[in-house]
Amino acid sequence: MPEMIDQIFVLLKQWIMGYVPSGLQPLCSAILSVLPILVVFPLLFAITTVLERKGLGRMQNRYGPNRAGPWGILQPAADGIKSLTKEDIVPRSADHLVHLLAPILIVIASFLVYSVVPVGRNMVVVDLNAGVLFFFAIGSMVELAVFMAGWSSRSKYSLLGAMRAIAQMISYEMPMVLSGVVAIMAAGSLSTVTIVNMQAGYTGIWPHWYLFTPWGITGYILFMIAATAESNRCPFDMPEGESEIIAGYFIEYSGFKFALFFVAEYLGMMASSAMAITLFLGGWAAPFSFLTWIPSWFWFFAKLILMLMVFIWIRGTLPRLRMDQLMNFGWKFMLPLSLINIVSAGLWHYLPSGFTRWSVISLLLLLSCFLLSRNLRRNKWFQERTYRFAS
């Protein structure tokens, strides 16, 4: 019975496919695989927005949305209807075609990456040979869409926002890829399904996730910091710093096009979380061996929602970084540490297993982390600010 519930969506698809004539089967199979992604993840996006607004409200000592529906849970529907019925304003001097294409491209790119994420046992749209590479390649398309949005609006603010966003995304894309490399090295494959399968199995009650190794937890933390920067979220939300450049690259968008950018931002955040789950948190595997009777897709979405909550928590906690802090942190801390992490993952493979391996690698990573962060502090060339008339 647990197996049946675990595979219920796969069985459902097979059951429907049984009624389809054989000529239409490839098309129908593709549609049946893609449709759930187009339904589930936007739904999750709606849940996340309400969770974020309520959670942030509580963190800031206010109620958050509480008028639409019981406890404000219908707020996303109200927002959606509002943005659909709003007037779509395009600046007169804008480049109309590029202005139209940018939100479309960004949403397509954000949805495409889900095709390689295994959301449960046997539940992946395509098991690509180079799945992780696909994720990063499609992720880089978002940068181009951001540029198109900022440039085509013919506004100084949107262009500045696009430049900031692209500079930040390029700087943090490299640590993101390099910190993901350790999981690829350990699994010996670029296929997301193989990476998840390599993390299956338990020692006692504890799972064999890559998170529970020194290089794994370093890689995971680096990956999540880079993912926060990639999705332009607090504390890396300078591309849309309200007090400086109003809203960044999508100021000149209104109505549903604006909503598309909003959707793409959250989809990107969820995609990065999903990839972190796949690479380091064992994908759809249960966290303890005695919980394996709960279906695999439940564990995937439970982990995903947990990680989204961490994103919200960070947003409610940390202030925005300055541009030079952002760049210094990216290039002088994240990048060297991810390279050292790759080396230590290689060493881990060749050292004899046991306590020695653990202590050597942990010491190496902790020491390099300490030295790099000290270097980061020493390099500040901004003087402490003094206020002459304020003391």
Partner: protein, 167 residues
Amino acid sequence: MTLSFMLLAAIAILGAAAAMNLKTAVHCVLALTLGMVGLAALYLQLGAQFVGLTQVLVYVGAVAILAVFAIMLTRSRTGETLAPGSVSSRLSGALTALLVFAVLAWAILTGVSPQPLSGAQPEASVREVGVALMQRFVLPLEIIGVLLTAALIGAGVLAIEEKGGDR
């Protein structure tokens, strides 16, 4: 000559043609990117996943962004229209294109494949590419790495301010 091949080839050719004919520099870059994506899709259709996805990663993620940054930072006005090339530059361009096409066509028409082509698709998985890079082609790989590092350091040296910066 399947339908999908025709469509992808049309996308690649249209993108390349538009990159040469559009008036605005940024439009040219975007059209070029479209052509590159079409080319990557052709690689993917041939089963070369690694090459195709690397093509997307490099040309869409890096080269296109580099090009738009270069246009943004070097031109005084964004979206400046390009002046049409002079007759001599057009002639030399056409001559170069013709020569490249002739050499490629000659190579394809007269070249003999080292192994007889079999019906089965060649195995070009990521693992094969990695093994080949790390064993047979490890020396070229290292040389390219050194070259790129030198280029990176050179770019950094060029970008450092000469005076006043205590960075």
